[in-house]
Symmetry: C3
Subunit: 273 residues, 3 copies
Amino acid sequence: MLEAGAILEQVRSANPLVHNITNVVVTNFTANGLLAMGASPVMAYAREEAGEMAGIAGALVLNIGTLDETVVESMLIAGKGANEQNVPVVLDPVGAGATAYRTRTARKLIEELNIAVVRGNAAEIANVAGRNWDIKGVDGGQGKGDLAELAITAAKQFNSVVVITGKEDVVTDGKAVYIIKNGHPLLTKVTGAGCLLSSVIGAFLAVENNHVNAAAAALAFYGVAAERAAGLAGGEGPGTFQVQLLNSLSFVSSKEINEKAVIMNGGGKHESI
Amino acid sequence: MLEAGAILEQVRSANPLVHNITNVVVTNFTANGLLAMGASPVMAYAREEAGEMAGIAGALVLNIGTLDETVVESMLIAGKGANEQNVPVVLDPVGAGATAYRTRTARKLIEELNIAVVRGNAAEIANVAGRNWDIKGVDGGQGKGDLAELAITAAKQFNSVVVITGKEDVVTDGKAVYIIKNGHPLLTKVTGAGCLLSSVIGAFLAVENNHVNAAAAALAFYGVAAERAAGLAGGEGPGTFQVQLLNSLSFVSSKEINEKAVIMNGGGKHESI
Amino acid sequence: MLEAGAILEQVRSANPLVHNITNVVVTNFTANGLLAMGASPVMAYAREEAGEMAGIAGALVLNIGTLDETVVESMLIAGKGANEQNVPVVLDPVGAGATAYRTRTARKLIEELNIAVVRGNAAEIANVAGRNWDIKGVDGGQGKGDLAELAITAAKQFNSVVVITGKEDVVTDGKAVYIIKNGHPLLTKVTGAGCLLSSVIGAFLAVENNHVNAAAAALAFYGVAAERAAGLAGGEGPGTFQVQLLNSLSFVSSKEINEKAVIMNGGGKHESI
């Protein structure tokens, strides 16, 4: 059985260092979110130090939201440094499919590195996997198809856990499938809400070797925190919600997760856990 | 007659993709502001994708607040990609006049690209146009002269709509002149308030081909949102105001704009609309 | 006697331009904090303008939190531009000791530039000074030893004022020692709280030639603002605290500082002021 609350407790106790090479839009929010939840964020981009920092971190998170050649080179150096030290790596292929460069770069990172978890919306995952799916900019577009089936196919292809987030979230390593039904629509009104989630997954991976369980627990935690934040924001709007999300990442307890998390096995047609 | 509320409705209905190549200080606030108002932000800087992203966007916003040679090259690539697809381009010449490099770069962008709207404070516009005006850092300094006359001259020189923001805002294409009297002094206490406004103008340009009307409507919307935010902040200070500004960008309705917008024609000595 | 409130009044009256070359995580928060307190922030990184901007600023703040070769080159250009115009320079050696590259770069900046104030946590200062001290990522680790003694040694070695922040803050020029006992633990839950403090010190240096007094006054001001913010946040969490910190930087008065600042001379074993 998945003990999401217990993994959160481990994060808060271990205070893992999460090394982020992320986009310039979300750095501040990512760092504040990690601090609030009880992890220790660091950003380090230079090729001179990216490998060294990744090697001492508890997890490495690579996010291609504002990629360029220099940052991609640093991602490869950091990723290899992490792989050598068995530090788990999360990839967030922001906007894959929106431009050829993003799709190509996401695939290159998956080929050259050992990635523990790939997290994206359905369009991003589908585009990296070479499936047709609409995308508009960095927002997920409209696509058809069974999300669990897409996730399973991608997980096998990438040889990693795949997380597809949306109204419902899917987590799978290609065999076990979790569906997480927490969260709130206001998350789509805060830039970097998905990027921060990828880093939160990194913090959970740092303390839990079962990566599909760690990712599912992180999603449940984040979703419950978003629900709490929306309640506290009380209809004021996305500015207040963002502030309350940081507050909630700090305050949501393992007890609250265990009570409110809605984590389901992926259903009959997939292997159950 | 200018229907500011109707243009806002179009933005919220169309949810246009606004591609920003902007400074590292304001990326997060810009993205959150665009999301809050109902647009879809994307940042993409790499030469490998800047032109492709700009070509599929509804508007491109170029902001030189933390420019360097690499980003200027990307701005030119993106701008040409936008021009080819008739995607309107907004230029925010942050700090033009503060250093020779900024002034030179702003002029280069205006010469090499077809810019729909240039938005700045009086000092920035004057410096780009080669007029004397004091400037301190990136804040508008004290200058003398008729703002409408400065805006008209600059609009003719740049062959674009010019927006000068300050206590009162001026919008002109060199012939029609609008003066907008909305807004709040707390906007000067939030970094990137002007930068976000430039991106909001981009969102309005994406849905309205009359650029002078689109810009004036964007200013009225933003000013009314700031007034609402200041009322809700209730004297707490710039931190709370910033949060309430994001809330207000989400909540201000077309009805509220049409009631509260103070948009005047430029007066007797200029051609009226 | 140190008149912290009087120096704050001077900052608010002079509205000094503070030029920051800082990390990508904290740019927005730094700019908003400086605006809130009454200073005028500017960020300028390009080698083409860094020296020119630094030369017209009231202070220059160099922060290596997300350094790379390009930004280090700009820091050296800006630092020399500042030194030529007698503009005081603050160095924040974020994460020195976490990677060899950061330690090496901090030392290089101290060797090649005339630095007025170096501010860091104990681990950062110790590592730059070549003393053993644990560090984890960019957070101060656990170390032993007398902080005042460490600060005095480092100040003599760097030939600058040294500020070590933590539960208590130490400020010294190698002779005079101040211990400041203001502040709040929630500051450790907001990313860039230390980085912003370095920029606030820059604003105080811009108006007060006695650098040890200016730094001590800045610490007292910032600590009192944090205490006020924590009171207003009322246990809501780090999101609300961050908003209230910006509000408090705007509202804390010279009278409130003079009443609440706890600034002590460094005690018997050091030279008193």
